[in-house]
Amino acid sequence: MNIFFLIILIFFSGAILSFIINRIAPKFSGITTFVTIAVVSFLFFTQVEINSITQFSLGGIQMQFGVNNYTYIFAILVLGLSLLASLFSIKYMQDNDRLGYFYSNFILSIAGMVGIIFSRDFISFFIFWEIMTWSSYLIVIYDGARSSRSGLKYMIFSAIGAYAMLTAIVSIKGSYGTFIISEAIENGAFNFTDHIYIPIMLLVGFAVKAALMPLHVWAPNAYSKSPMSFTAIFSGAMSKMGILGMGLVLASVYSHSTDENAFNVLILRQILGWLGGITAVMATIYALIQTDAKKLLAYSSVAQLGYIIVGLSTGTKLGVMAALFLAIIHAVFKGALFMVAGAVERQVGTTDMTKISGLIRKMPFTFFTALVSIIALAGIPPLGGFVGKWMLYEALITESNNYFLVIVIFFSSTAAFMYSYRFLFGLFLGQEEKEIEHVKEAPVTMIIPMVILALILIVTGVYPGILFEPIAQGMQYLGYSDVNWDMSVLVNVWGEESNMAYINLTIGVVFVVIFIFLTLKNLKGTRYVGTKDISTSGEIPTENENLTFQLDFFKPFQRAAAPLYKRSMDKIWNDLGNALEAIFDFTRRIYTGNGQTYALFVIIFLVILLIFKNTLFTN
């Protein structure tokens, strides 16, 4: 049997199996999921040959399956992350009911993503895309009352995106006569001269999943309301499917950029770049006023995706590379962070930062993961986040000359420190409240995936070359021909070289030397005290006194940046929705309920047709 069909079969049977097993022994539902994904990962990385193509026909439509270097990057990302997330999920979801529902959709959504990765024609791409969408929707509404509205929002926006995509896809078929992606590109579907709407529609479709500015409003809610073990994938991997598509389309558009369509391409580039930038800023400033850690992370995801889109929009070598690099890194650290949130949720029962604090002593491993991931998120050297951001800035300044966008991005990334700190502080630092006395560290199957992700972050930070290798190959598929990066050496257009390993080595040496020296020195005579032992003007804090500063953490910033908070995209969409609902309400009033009116309609319709029959009908 063909390996691709086998993988799909395994996925679907896994989904059904986990559903059935839940009826018999709910405990093993999660393990089934893990095993399914593990088997598929094994098959994928051992059996699938890169650049091999399988042709078949379904419903009279020619289809192709195959993996290329570009999608391979995403395959690593998706399968790796889902493997860890499913391991995490076993204990995380343990006490919930309806596990069969959850896990079968869990597997299906991963099946959708893997399917997207190896689809090489638009129809199977779309099919898997939609499978991914509705299965993830079903998981979003898994939580019932709390998540119902977010789920609906998610589904509606996904539908807008998916149907924009479908419009483009059938238009490609109509105008260029093929559903195969590579043929469509060859036939010039993305030339950006004749049918400009085709790539734009596709981009809109992908932008929804990638949570780009006006279409992002579903993301914060959907990310924060679904179970965290799934959100790790949802935000980490599924949003990257949008990036995958955008990368593909943009690369073809840019590579077909000629004098004829230069202006169009320029406009596209600017619009996309600025949308990405504004997404990053707005999501960031909304992230830092959140009090729920999950929601904070969700907004942060949107912001990070904004960077990635900015990188893609440049279309330059360094920019695309930055985007892909950030995409992978984001998947890793956001996966880890959502797992952290999940661990906290499971152990403490809430992720509301106003209610808990000071978990660092109770959950040290979780904190370690959170710390490493946050450092990567904030883009602080020496972890991977910095490498990606560095490339992004270099690309914007040196290659695409988009100077003010740099400022926007930089503003967002500086403000990102604020919410990064807020996250760490809110959950792990601060007073050890009485409520968390009983809290224990998360079980080991939850710790392992988190720590693995943290270690990956450290390794990729020190040796980003590990990731440059597959990314460079993937970019060659996209048409960036002379991508040939050495391990860890980056070159920008101005011919300047930067050796990341060198930097990291320096940092590492300094780190080790000073760390050992000072730790040894400071440890002597150090006394560790509890968090209640603080200098409060001699007052003795009582047990019930809340000494942790949590509410309105960034109130001064909020006041300073008040204009930015004034009009949110949510509100605009809400207004639009209300207007539409009014229209819907109006249309249904056509059906008055009076039988006579209906009869009148018939006669009027008849008369009108008879009056206009000569214009309507000809021989």
Partner: protein, 181 residues
């Protein structure tokens, strides 16, 4: 080498010199004496030239300056502040009230002798002591530090039980946290 007695002396000298020249004062403005502190710090008397400088929190402070009478309620806070300070730490009793209760000697709600509750290095008498006296008190403290005689944190630690008994006599509802030194 550092265990060598002579070199230890030199090291001690240097350390004490630094301690003496850099006094971070936690001014506990308990009574009316607090009014003299600004005068001492500002241009006319300029205590900073001796390396004396205010500290915001007990963690950073070297000197606890009790300025005036100490109500029984306040004592609790003073003890806590004192215990939160890092060693070596010094206490200056400021004004007559800290010595023997001063004009409040028979008041029902002030303590009479600060020494009963925390070890005091230097007293500055007067009601109020002028900034000159304050500075001279600090200079006295510096001398003590230089001689290595002013480490009363150790004394407090060693005689903790005695101090606690005294403290508990005044503070009826003892809810102080235990510091596990």
């Amino acid at each position: 080498m550092i265990n060598d007695k002579d070199s230890q002396k030199i090291v001690d000298y240097i350390q004490n010199f630094a301690r003496k020249q850099s006094l971070f004062v936690m001014a506990y403005g308990t009574g009316c004496g607090a009014i003299e502190i600004p005068a001492t710090m500002t241009s006319r008397y300029d205590a900073e030239r001796f390396g004396i400088r205010g500290a915001a929190t007990p963690r950073q402070a070297d000197v606890l300056l009790i300025t005036g009478y100490l109500a029984t309620k306040t004592l609790k806070r003073v003890i806590r502040v004192y215990e939160q300070m890092q060693e070596p730490k010094y206490v200056i009793g400021f004004g007559s009230c800290t010595i023997n209760g001063g004009m409040y000697f028979d008041s029902y709600n002030t303590i009479n002798a600060l020494e009963q509750y925390i070890p005091v290095d230097v007293y500055i008498n007067g009601c109020m002591p002028r900034p000159e006296s304050v500075i001279s008190g600090f200079v006295k403290l510096q001398e003590l530090i230089q001689q290595g005689k002013a480490d009363n944190g150790k004394k407090y630690r060693e005689n903790l039980e005695w101090y606690r008994t005294n403290q508990k006599k005044i503070i009826k509802n003892w809810k102080m946290p235990d510091y596990n030194w």
